[in-house]
C-alpha cells in the first residue's frame, strides 16, 4: 500500500481555493496576467488579496481555523485521499512547474502516482464536440497507449476526453483530472465513466471533496494535465478551444506536443492541423507517440497476430479502405451478394478491422486488434 497524506498547510490551500471559487470567477478573465493558472502561482495571502479583498481577513481566518483532523475526516468521508508537494507520492512531473498545485486530492488507486515519471504518462485532449473520426482515434490511442504501459491522462469531458478514458480503461491505467472535487462526477452524464475510473484508475483534483466546478477551474486543471505527462496530444479541436490552452501550457513547460492530422476541410481538425504546421509531432497511431516519447524503436506496439483473411473478407476490407461506407456500395464494388457482404462485414467488425456507427455505416479502425483465428 502506498503512503498517502498531506501536510495541513497544503490541504488548507485546497480548501481555500474552493472557498475562493466565486471570487476568482469574477477576477479571472482569461487575459494575460489574469488567467487562472497565473493567479494560482500567488501565495495564499496574495491570492485572497487579489480576488476577494473585502472578505480577505475573514476567509484567511476561517481557513486557518481548519484543523488537520477535520480536513482528514472530510477526505475520509468522501472516500478520498491527498498528497502534497512535500510528500513522496507527489508526482515528480509537477514539482518543476511554477504554478503546481500544493496538494492533490485523489479518489481511486494512489499507486498510479507512485513513481510516475513524465515519460510514463501521456495526456490526450480534444474537443467536446468531436466527430466520429476523432472519437474513434481517441479511443484507439487511449487503448493502445494504455496497453503499451503508459498512464493515459485526460479530463473526463464529453467527446475526445471521455473516449480516451474509455479506450484506456479497456487497455490499462488512466487518470482523470477534474475541475471540481474528485468525488463530484462532472459532467453528470459521465457518472458511470467516473465510477469506472474511480474503481480501476484514478481521479485527481486540486480542489477538496464536494467542490463545484467554475469556469476558471478548467484552465486550472488543464495545467495539471499538461504538467503530469511527458507528451500532450490533441485529437480534435477548433481554432479557439480549451484544448489548445492545454497545449500552450504543455509547450510552456517544455513538454512534447502531438497532434492528430485531420482533413483540412474539417473545422474540428483545424486546431491540430495548425499545431502540426507549427511543428507539433504528427500522431497517426500509438506507435508515433511511443517513438516521440521514448525514442524511435525503443518500445514497439505488439502487433497482434492477425489471422489470414479469406478472399471475401479481403475484398470487402479493400472496398472499405477505398472509401466505401455502406453495405450496398461494398456489395456492388466487390460483386458479392448482399448476404455474403453482410456476413463479411460482421466478421471484419468482430475482428476489429472495422467499426460500425449507430447509422450503420462502416469505417476502418486505426489498428487491427485481436480476433479469433477461427473466422
Amino acid at each position: 500500500m502506498v503512503e498517502t497524506g498531506a501536510c495541513v498547510e497544503c490541504l488548507r490551500r485546497s480548501w481555500l481555493l474552493a472557498a475562493l471559487g466565486p471570487y476568482v470567477e469574477r477576477v479571472a478573465t482569461g487575459e494575460v496576467g489574469l488567467r487562472s493558472p497565473e493567479l494560482l502561482r500567488l501565495s495564499n495571502e496574495e491570492l485572497v488579496e487579489a480576488t476577494a479583498p473585502k472578505v480577505a481577513e475573514q476567509l484567511l481566518a476561517r481557513i486557518a481555523a481548519l484543523s488537520e483532523e477535520r480536513l482528514n475526516e472530510e477526505l475520509l468521508l468522501a472516500d478520498c485521499w491527498a498528497c502534497c508537494c512535500h510528500g513522496d507520492l507527489y508526482p515528480v512531473a509537477l514539482r518543476d512547474a511554477p504554478d503546481a498545485p500544493w496538494a492533490l486530492i485523489g479518489r481511486g488507486s494512489p499507486s498510479l502516482l507512485d513513481g510516475l515519471q513524465p515519460y510514463g504518462a501521456v495526456t490526450i485532449v480534444g474537443a467536446r464536440r468531436a466527430t466520429s473520426y476523432g472519437r474513434e482515434i481517441a479511443r484507439e490511442l487511449g487503448r493502445e497507449l494504455a496497453r503499451a504501459g503508459l498512464v493515459v491522462v485526460s479530463g473526463m469531458a464529453f467527446g475526445i476526453d471521455g473516449c480516451a478514458h474509455r479506450g484506456a480503461l479497456d487497455g490499462g491505467r488512466t487518470i482523470a483530472v477534474l475541475g471540481c472535487g474528485p468525488d463530484v462526477a462532472y459532467p453528470s452524464s459521465h457518472r458511470a465513466l467516473w465510477r469506472q475510473i474511480c474503481d480501476s484508475g484514478l481521479v485527481l483534483s486540486e480542489l477538496p471533496p464536494g467542490a463545484t466546478p467554475w469556469k476558471w477551474t478548467f484552465p486550472a486543471r488543464n495545467r495539471i494535465m499538461a504538467a503530469l505527462a511527458g507528451m500532450t496530444i490533441v485529437v480534435e479541436a477548433a481554432t479557439r478551444s480549451g484544448s489548445l490552452i492545454t497545449m500552450d501550457l504543455a509547450a510552456d513547460l517544455g513538454r512534447d506536443l502531438g497532434a492528430v492530422p485531420g482533413p483540412v476541410t474539417s473545422r474540428a481538425s483545424a486546431g491540430p492541423n495548425a499545431l502540426l504546421a507549427s511543428g507539433a509531432q504528427v500522431v497517426r497511431d500509438a506507435q508515433d507517440v511511443l517513438d516521440a516519447m521514448l525514442g524511435p524503436g525503443n518500445r514497439r506496439i505488439e502487433q497482434q497476430r492477425t489471422p489470414a483473411l479469406g478472399t471475401d473478407l479481403q475484398a470487402v476490407l479493400a472496398a472499405i479502405e477505398a472509401g466505401e461506407s455502406t453495405c450496398d456500395a461494398v456489395a456492388i464494388v466487390t460483386g458479392l451478394s448482399a448476404s455474403s457482404t453482410a456476413a463479411a462485414l460482421a466478421k471484419l467488425e468482430l475482428l476489429g478491422y472495422l467499426t460500425c456507427s449507430t447509422l450503420g455505416t462502416y469505417s476502418r479502425t486505426l489498428v487491427p486488434s485481436t480476433g479469433k483465428a477461427s473466422l
Partner: protein, 518 residues
C-alpha cells in the same frame, strides 16, 4: 280547451298503472372501432308537444330529432304532437353518430301505433335518415352486425349500401332497406329483400401496384427489406434524402404474405369503422405513412369519442415513419407500449378501450440534420448538431427497431441498370419463411414476436454460438440485444431453409441488427 285547464287535468290525473315505455328498438353506437348495443326507448304521452333525446347523446344524435320528424312526415306518417321522450340505454354510455335515426324512427312509429311489427323486438336497426325518409350508410356496419348476432338479434335492418359488409357475418338475417317506408312492408310480411352478396376478397396485389423491381442497385436494402418482411422485424433506414428510403418502404406491403381471411376481416372491421371500406375486403396489407407533424393521439388513437389512430389503421400492415427524428417526442414515446403489446389501451372515464395494432414498423431518417451525412464535405452541420440528431435516433423508439439499413445514394449506373427482382419472386421466399415460422411457433406468429425463452431455444450451430458469444463479451450486449440478434438470425435461417442457425446467418444477423449507442 284552454291550456291552463289542460295542465291542471294532467296534474290531477292518477299515475298510470301501465308502464309508460311504449316502444323499444335495438341499435348500436360506435365506440372506437367496436360497436356497443344501445336500446332505444320511446315514451309518448300527453303533454306539451315536445321531442327530447336523453342518454348522453352527442350533437349528431340530438339532431336526429329534426331528421326523424322530417322523414316521418315526408314518408306519409304522422308525427305525434305529444310529449315524446327518447331514452338511449345504457344511459352511462356516450352515444355518437347519426346511425341511430332508423331505430328511433321505428320505435316512434311503433309507440304511436303506426307500425305493428312483432319482429321489432328481435331486430336491430341501424341507419341514418335523409329528410325524405331514405336511408344513408353508416360507419362500422360490419362490427354492428357481429355484435347484433352476439346479442341475440335475429335480423339486422340497415341501409342498402351497408348490406354487403354486414352479409360477411353469418348467422343473422341481413335486411337492406332503402327507405323508412319499407319497414311497413317488412312488418306486414308483404315485402322482403334477398340477402345481399357478401363483400368479395380483393386480390392482394392489384395490377399496377408499386413493385420492388423499381428498387435498383441497392442489394443490401433489398435484402434488409426481405429479411424484415420474412420475420416481421421492424426496420430503420438511414441515408441521404432521395436515396430511395420512401420508395423501399412503400414496396414493403407488396412482398408481405397476403392477408389470411381472418386477418382480412380484422382489417375490414377497422376500415369499416372509419368509413374506409371500399368495394371489397382488403386482400393486401395496409400501408400507412403519417406526416411527422402528427400528434400522439393521432398516432395511437384517442379523443373524447375514441378514434382509432394510425397504428390501428396499420393493423396487420406497415406503419412507415418517414423523417423519424422530426416526429414529436411524445408521439414516438406513445408508440412504445403498443409496439410491444400489439394493442393500444386507451383509458377513459367510462372504462378502458383497447384497439388492435399489430403492425410492422418501418422508419427512415437522414444521417444528420442537413441530410448529407458527416462524411460528405458539403455537410454543414456542426458535430454537436449531428450528435444531438443521432441521439434522437438512438433514443426513444430505437429500442424497438430490429434491423438497421444504411442507404446510400444510388449511382447513375445503378439507376440506369436492369430492374431488380420482382415483388412476386421475393414474396414467394418470404411466404416460405413465414410458413416455417408458423410451423415452429404456431399460427399467425412470426420470429419478431418470439419470447426471450423461445429466442434462446433456437437451434444454433457451434460456429454461430461462438460468434454470438464473442460479440456478447466484446461489446457488452444487453440481454435484449442478444435476443434480437438471435431472432434475426432465425429469420435468416428460415429464409435459407436451414434447420439450425449457421455461422453465416449469425454473422449476417450481427451485421443487420440495430446498433446500440456508442
Amino acid at each position: 280547451m284552454p291550456k291552463i285547464l289542460f295542465l291542471r287535468v294532467t296534474r290531477e290525473s292518477k299515475p298510470p298503472s301501465v308502464p309508460t315505455v311504449l316502444a323499444t328498438a335495438r341499435t348500436f353506437t360506435l365506440d372506437g372501432i367496436s360497436a356497443r348495443p344501445v336500446r332505444v326507448e320511446v315514451d309518448v304521452h300527453r303533454g306539451l308537444p315536445n321531442f327530447t333525446i336523453v342518454g348522453l347523446p352527442d350533437a349528431a344524435v340530438r339532431e336526429a330529432r329534426e331528421r326523424v320528424r322530417a322523414a316521418l312526415v315526408n314518408c306519409g306518417f304522422e308525427f305525434p304532437l305529444r310529449r315524446i321522450v327518447v331514452n338511449l340505454a345504457p344511459a352511462s354510455l356516450r352515444k355518437a353518430g347519426p346511425g341511430m335515426d332508423l331505430a328511433i324512427a321505428a320505435a316512434l312509429l311503433s309507440a304511436s301505433e303506426q307500425l305493428q311489427w312483432e319482429g321489432l323486438a328481435n331486430a336491430a336497426l341501424v341507419g341514418e335518415l335523409a329528410l325524405d325518409g331514405s336511408t344513408r350508410p353508416v360507419h362500422g356496419a360490419l362490427a354492428m352486425a357481429e355484435v347484433a348476432r352476439e346479442s341475440g338479434a335475429e335480423t339486422i335492418v340497415l341501409p342498402a349500401e351497408n348490406g354487403p359488409e354486414a352479409a360477411l357475418v353469418e348467422g343473422i338475417d341481413v335486411v337492406p332497406v332503402e327507405a323508412l317506408g319499407q319497414l311497413l312492408g317488412l312488418a306486414d310480411g308483404d315485402w322482403s329483400s334477398p340477402r345481399p352478396e357478401p363483400l368479395p376478397l380483393l386480390p392482394s396485389v392489384s395490377p399496377g401496384a408499386p413493385d420492388l423491381a423499381d428498387l435498383r442497385g441497392q442489394p443490401h436494402l433489398r435484402h434488409a427489406l426481405e429479411v424484415a418482411a420474412a420475420g416481421g422485424h421492424s426496420l430503420m433506414m438511414v441515408g441521404p434524402p432521395g436515396a430511395g428510403k420512401s420508395l423501399a418502404a412503400s414496396r414493403l406491403p407488396s412482398i408481405l404474405p397476403p392477408l389470411a381471411p381472418s386477418e382480412a376481416l380484422e382489417v375490414a372491421r377497422i376500415a369499416s369503422a372509419c368509413g374506409r371500406l371500399g368495394t371489397g375486403l382488403p386482400g393486401g396489407r395496409p400501408f400507412r405513412a403519417p406526416h411527422h407533424t402528427i400528434s400522439a393521439a393521432g398516432l395511437v388513437g384517442g379523443g373524447q369519442a375514441i378514434r382509432a389512430g394510425e397504428v390501428t389503421h396499420a393493423h396487420r400492415g406497415v406503419l412507415f415513419l418517414d423523417e423519424l427524428c422530426e416526429f414529436r417526442r411524445d408521439a414516438l414515446e406513445a408508440l412504445r407500449a403498443p409496439l410491444e403489446s400489439g394493442e393500444v389501451a386507451i383509458a377513459r372515464v367510462g372504462g378502458q378501450r383497447s384497439l388492435p395494432c399489430r403492425f410492422m414498423l418501418v422508419a427512415a431518417a437522414n444521417p444528420c440534420p442537413c441530410g448529407r451525412g458527416e462524411a460528405d464535405p458539403d455537410c454543414s452541420c456542426s458535430p454537436y448538431e449531428v450528435q444531438r440528431y443521432q441521439g434522437k435516433l438512438s433514443g426513444a423508439l430505437a429500442d424497438r427497431i430490429d434491423v438497421l439499413a444504411a442507404v446510400r445514394q444510388p449511382s447513375a449506373a445503378d439507376i440506369g441498370g436492369p430492374p431488380g427482382e420482382s415483388s412476386a419472386a421475393v414474396r414467394e421466399r418470404v411466404c416460405a419463411a413465414r410458413e416455417r415460422q408458423e410451423h415452429r411457433l404456431g399460427a399467425g406468429r412470426c420470429n419478431a414476436e418470439m419470447t426471450p425463452a423461445e429466442a434462446r431455444g433456437c437451434a444454433l450451430s457451434e460456429g454461430a454460438a461462438l460468434l454470438l458469444a464473442d460479440l456478447y463479451a466484446r461489446q457488452r450486449l444487453s440481454g435484449r440485444a442478444h435476443d434480437r440478434a438471435l431472432r434475426l438470425a432465425q429469420t435468416l435461417t428460415d429464409l435459407a431453409g436451414l434447420s439450425e442457425i449457421g455461422d453465416e446467418q449469425m454473422a449476417q444477423a450481427l451485421q443487420m441488427r440495430r446498433r446500440d449507442r456508442g
